[in-house]
C-alpha cells in the first residue's frame, strides 16, 4: 500500500493516537515520543496507585513504555490507550506476583489478608482524607478496574485492556464502589465488621 497522504508529517495536541502510532510504525520515533508525553503521567500514576511507591512506579512505568515501543509494530488493537494500559496492567500484575514469590515461606501464611485492620483503615482515611487509602481492601480485579478508571479509561476501554466483556467490567466496578462505600462507613465507625459487603 503506498499510503500516501497529503497530510504533512506533523502532529499536534489534536492528532489522534492511532495516527501517531501509524507514523511511529513508519519509522518516526518522535511520534512515539508524543504518545509518551501524552500518556506518561497517567501510566505513571496508575503504576504508583497499584504498586505504592515512587521507586516501583518508575521501574514499572519504564518497562511499560519500552514494551509498548517494542510491540508497536504489531499494534492491532482498536484503541491505543486501551492497548497501552493492557501493557501497564500486565507489568503491574507481574510485579505484584513477583513480590509474593519473593516472600519467604514463613510469611506466606500471612498472605491470606495483607490488608490493614479496620482501625488502620480508619486512621488512613483520617490521615490522608482520601477514599483511595481503602483501595487495597478491594479484591484485586476490582482494584485494577478502579485504577484504570482513575487513569481515564472508559468501561469499554477497560474491557479491551483486561480482555474482559463489558458486562464483567460493569459488575466489577459496581461491586468496587459498593465495597468502598461500605469501607468508608466502616472507617467512620472503627470496629465495624469486616467483609460484610463482600
Amino acid at each position: 500500500v503506498p499510503l500516501f497522504r497529503r497530510r504533512p508529517l506533523a502532529w499536534d495536541e489534536a492528532t489522534p493516537d492511532e495516527e501517531l502510532v501509524g507514523q511511529a510504525q513508519g519509522g518516526q520515533r518522535e511520534a512515539f515520543g508524543v504518545l509518551y508525553d501524552r500518556y506518561l503521567p497517567r501510566v505513571y500514576r496508575y503504576c504508583y496507585r497499584l504498586l505504592g511507591s515512587r521507586e516501583a512506579a518508575e521501574d514499572a512505568n519504564g518497562r511499560v513504555f519500552l514494551n509498548a515501543l517494542a510491540a508497536l509494530p504489531a499494534f492491532r488493537a482498536r484503541s491505543f490507550r486501551a492497548w497501552l494500559f493492557a501493557i501497564a496492567h500486565n507489568v503491574v500484575v507481574d510485579d505484584l506476583r513477583a513480590r509474593r514469590a519473593d516472600l519467604p515461606l514463613e510469611a506466606a501464611a500471612e498472605l491470606h489478608d495483607t490488608a490493614p485492620s479496620p482501625e488502620e483503615e480508619a486512621i488512613a482515611v483520617l490521615e490522608r482524607c482520601t477514599i483511595l487509602a481503602l483501595l487495597p481492601r478491594l479484591a484485586e480485579d476490582q482494584r485494577h478496574v478502579v485504577a484504570l478508571r482513575l487513569a481515564g479509561l472508559s468501561a469499554a476501554e477497560i474491557g479491551e485492556a483486561l480482555g474482559k466483556p463489558r458486562n464483567a467490567v460493569d459488575g466489577l466496578q459496581h461491586r468496587a464502589v459498593l465495597r468502598l462505600q461500605a469501607l468508608v462507613a466502616a472507617g467512620a465507625r472503627p470496629g465495624a465488621e469486616r467483609g460484610r459487603v463482600r
Binding site: 499510503l3 510504525q25 519504564g62 509494530p73 483511595l132 459496581h174
Partner: protein, 590 residues
Amino acid sequence: VSDPRFDNAVSRFWDAVARGEPAGSGDLDPALAETVRRLHAADDAPGPDPTYARRLREDLMHATTLPVPLDPTRHPMSNGRAAPRPAWRPALPPTKGRRRGALAQLATAALLLLTLAGVYASFVRPRPADDRPAVVPAAVASPDASPAAGGPEVLLRTALLPDRGAGGIELDFWRGAIAPGGRVNSLPEWAAQPGVHVDLVLAGTMVVRADAPIEVVRAGAAGAPETVPAGTEVTLDVGDAAIVPFASAREYHNPGEAWVELLGAFVLPEPWAPVDLIAPNYVVRPGNLYGTVPAEDLPAGPLLLTFGRVVGDAAAGAPTKLAQHGSVEWRVPEPHGAGTPPAGETSRVAYVLTLVPMDDLLLEAMLGEDDTLPEPFNLQLWFGSIPPGGRVAVAADYFRDAPATNVEYVLEGALAVRVDGPLRVVRAGQGGPTSPPESIPPGTEVVLAAGDAAVFPLETAFELVNPGQTPVRLLGAGVLSTDFTPVAPGYVFGPYAFGQYAALPPGPIKLTIRRATLVPGAVAPAPAAGELQATLAESPQSGAGLARRADGALENQGQEVVVVYVLALHPTGQGAGTPTGGMEAGTPAP
C-alpha cells in the same frame, strides 16, 4: 451485593464523570454516585519526577528493542506478556533500589535487545515538489530495504542462454570432487544434448579444456565472464567457475595433490535423452539433486543462474527443492566426508542454486473505466513489507483525497487482503500472470502467495494482514495522485521510483510489471511508443550502475548483475500519455 441491573448505571455515570461532564445520578443510588465523585476528587497519586521523565524519554528515543514475537493463536493484542520478562529490561534510568546491579542489567539488556530493523529501517519523507530534478535516472540508490538482502553468500552469478523453447529443463545440482591426479572426460552420448555444464571450484585447482569455447567467471569478478577459445586449457582456482556447452567434448584434470572440491550443475533443455550423467572418475557427493523443472515454473527465455552458500543454523536440513512462478531454488547440504562436518554432526554449510528468468512478466492487467486513474498522476513502484502478524487497516476516508489504482504483488510470503470495494486478483498458480483476473466480492478475504497480485482502488476501506510467520515482501505499484507524502501505518515502506505524467489517453490501458535481469553491459529496450514506465532496481548498490540512454533504453554500465522491476502502462486507445517530468527514484529518509 451488587445488583446487575445497576452495573451499567454505575458505568455510565463513571464515564460521564471521567469525561468531566456534569452527571446526575439518575437511577443510581446517590451514595454510590458520591463515592465515584469522591474517588476522582481524591486522586492524589503523584506525577513522575521531571528528571526521570526526561531521561526515560531520551532512552526511548534511542532505544533498540526486540520486536514482540507474534503468535496469532494467542490474544490479538501483543501486549508484551508473550515475551520473557528479562528481554524487556530496558536501559532505564536506575531508581534507588535498582542502581545496584544496574550496570549488569544494562549489559544484559544490550545483549538481549535487538533492533526493530524490519520496521524502523524504513522511513518516510516528505517529497517537496520543488526539488524534483528534470531528469533523473530511473534507478534507486539506497543502502537498505532490498528484498534480496540477507540471502546466501553469492559464489557465482551468470547469465545462461540455454537453447530451449517453451518446455521445461532437466536440472542437476551436486557437490562433486576429483581425486588428486584424476581426469574426467565427458561421455560421447552427451554430444547431442543441448544445455550447459557449470562447475565452480570450492577447493583445489582444476584444469579444463573443451572443443568449444569456455566461459570462465573468476572469483570476485562479479559476474563478468571471460571466453576461453576452444582447445585452450584454462586453470581454475578456488572461486572460479567454468560454463561449458554440455555437448562439447571436454576434460577436467586435477593436477594437485589434494582433492578438488566442486559445486556443479547441468541445465539441460527438454527434451533431453535420459543418458548417464555421471562421468567416470567424477565423484558425486551424497545429497545431490536432480529432476525436471516444468515450464510453468520457469518461463522461456534467458536464465540467471546463481550459486550461493549458506553457513550456520540456516544450513541445516536435507536437500530441498523450491519452485514458484519465476524462480527455482535448490539446496544441498555440505556432505559428510567432504571435509565438513565430521560424520554424525549436523551440516553447518549448504549450497543453493537459483534460476530466474532474465525477462519475466510478473503481472498483466487491463485498466478500464471502472478503475481510478487520476490526472496528473505518478506511475510508481516501491518495495514494501509487513511483519509477521502485522495488519494494515485503512478506513474508507483515509485516501479520499488520494484516489489511485493500487497493486500489491507478493514477492515472498503470504498476504491476506480484504477490500470493501472492487478487488481483482491474479494468481501465479492459476494460469500465470496473463490469465484473466479473478473478481473478488467486496468484503471477502483472499490470501495471496508469492507471485500473486491484488489490484484495487485506494479510496476504499481495505485491510492487509500478514498471516505468516515471516515478513511478507511486496512489490507495490500504482497509478497515484501526485504530490503525496508517504505514510505507512503498519506497512514498511522501502525504496521507490516513479515517473510523473499529465494524462492518459482514453480507452483501456494495459498495466504490466516485469522483472528484468541485466548483466553488465546489458540494455533494456526503450519504452514503446506511448508506453509509460517506472523502473526500480532490486539491489540499490548495483542500481547505481544503471543509466538511461538518450533513446530511452536502460543500460547496465556497472560491473554487477542488476535486477530491475519495470512498471509500464500500455495505452491501447489513440495517442500516448503526456509526460510532465522525468523519472525519479527515492528512498524513504531516515
